[in-house]
């Protein structure tokens, strides 16, 4: 068999076997190392900083809708609505959604304009853990507004084996 470069990650079963105190012959990494570099509140803050630059974010105008209790993190319906007249002079330029504990802090970036008519977008996302999700909207005057929701996830997404 040809040599293949693979990343060995213990499965949940292997970990449980080790945790149970049974001898396993294969080398098993601790669970903490088995997870890919996860986003943290700090990396989320960095991703938000990338999006807003030096500007400050104020609460309000944005309404982020997520179910507070999520049974299946693989598909979570999300809606972001921004209170804006969506005219040439005053409209939402973009909306970005961030999370704290998925492997990556970015979820989605939407680009809107006066032709959107209404600043409301819906989609379905993945959540790898119970965490805070943040939506930030950039208005045409350069100001940033945000809303956040804390969600509890009972079945997590992204990291499980097939």
């Amino acid at each position: 068999m040809p040599e293949r470069q693979t990343i060995v990650i213990p499965t949940r079963r292997q970990f449980l076997v080790v945790a149970g105190g049974l001898a396993v012959t294969s080398t098993v990494l601790p669970l903490a190392a088995s997870r890919p570099a996860a986003a943290t509140p700090d990396t989320m803050a960095a991703a938000i900083r990338d999006f807003i630059g030096e500007a400050t974010v104020r609460d309000g105008k944005v309404k982020l809708d997520l179910p507070p209790l999520v049974e299946n993190g693989n598909s979570v319906s999300l809606n972001v609505t921004v209170d804006s007249p969506m005219t040439e002079a005053d409209h939402v330029k973009s909306i970005a959604v961030f999370n704290e504990k998925n492997p990556q802090p970015n979820v989605l970036h939407f680009h809107l304009g006066p032709r959107s008519g209404k600043a409301s977008v819906s989609t379905r996302i993945r959540l790898a853990d119970s965490q805070r999700v943040v939506a930030i909207a950039q208005l045409s005057d350069g100001s940033f507004w945000s809303d956040s929701v804390d969600v509890i996830v009972t079945l997590v997404a992204c990291l499980e084996t097939l």
């Binding site: 693979t6 990343i7 060995v8 990650i9 213990p10 499965t11 890919p36 693989n74 598909s75 979570v76 999370n99 998925n102 492997p103 990556q104 970015n106 979820v107 989605l108 970036h109 939407f110 680009h111 809107l112 304009g113 032709r115 959107s116 008519g117 209404k118 600043a119 409301s120 977008v121 819906s122 989609t123 379905r124 996302i125 993945r126 959540l127 997404a157 992204c158 990291l159 499980e160 084996t161 097939l162």
Partner: protein
């Protein structure tokens, strides 16, 4: 090509705000999943979605692995004139799929 569902109203009043819904079948493989033996499935996602209305971009989205499989998007636009809405999805592999829908504005 992947199956795509596009929902655009066939008729609208001039100036009305219409909702557009788009769904495409795609696994949105995150690059973080692995099988029992530890082999990691390489990342393969749709990373960009663009909607044009008679050639003018009215909505764009950058997608990340945190978007669920078979990505669904719903958004709004103003029915300005009769014509064609073109929705395009671009994947990590560089392939783009375009679906079009006609709209009659009265």
């Amino acid at each position: 090509m992947a199956r795509a569902l596009v929902n655009v109203p066939a008729k609208a009043k001039r100036g009305a705000v219409i909702e557009i819904k788009a769904l495409i079948s795609h696994p949105m493989e995150t690059g973080y999943r692995h099988d029992e033996s530890g082999h990691v499935y390489p990342r393969d996602i749709i990373n960009r979605f663009v909607c044009t209305y008679n050639g003018v971009v009215v909505f764009q989205a950058d997608l990340f692995p945190a978007v669920a499989a078979n990505p669904f998007l719903s958004f709004f636009t103003v029915a300005t004139e009769s014509g064609v809405l073109a929705l395009s999805w671009t994947g990590d592999d560089g392939r783009t799929q375009v679906e079009t829908a006609n709209i009659t504005v009265e």
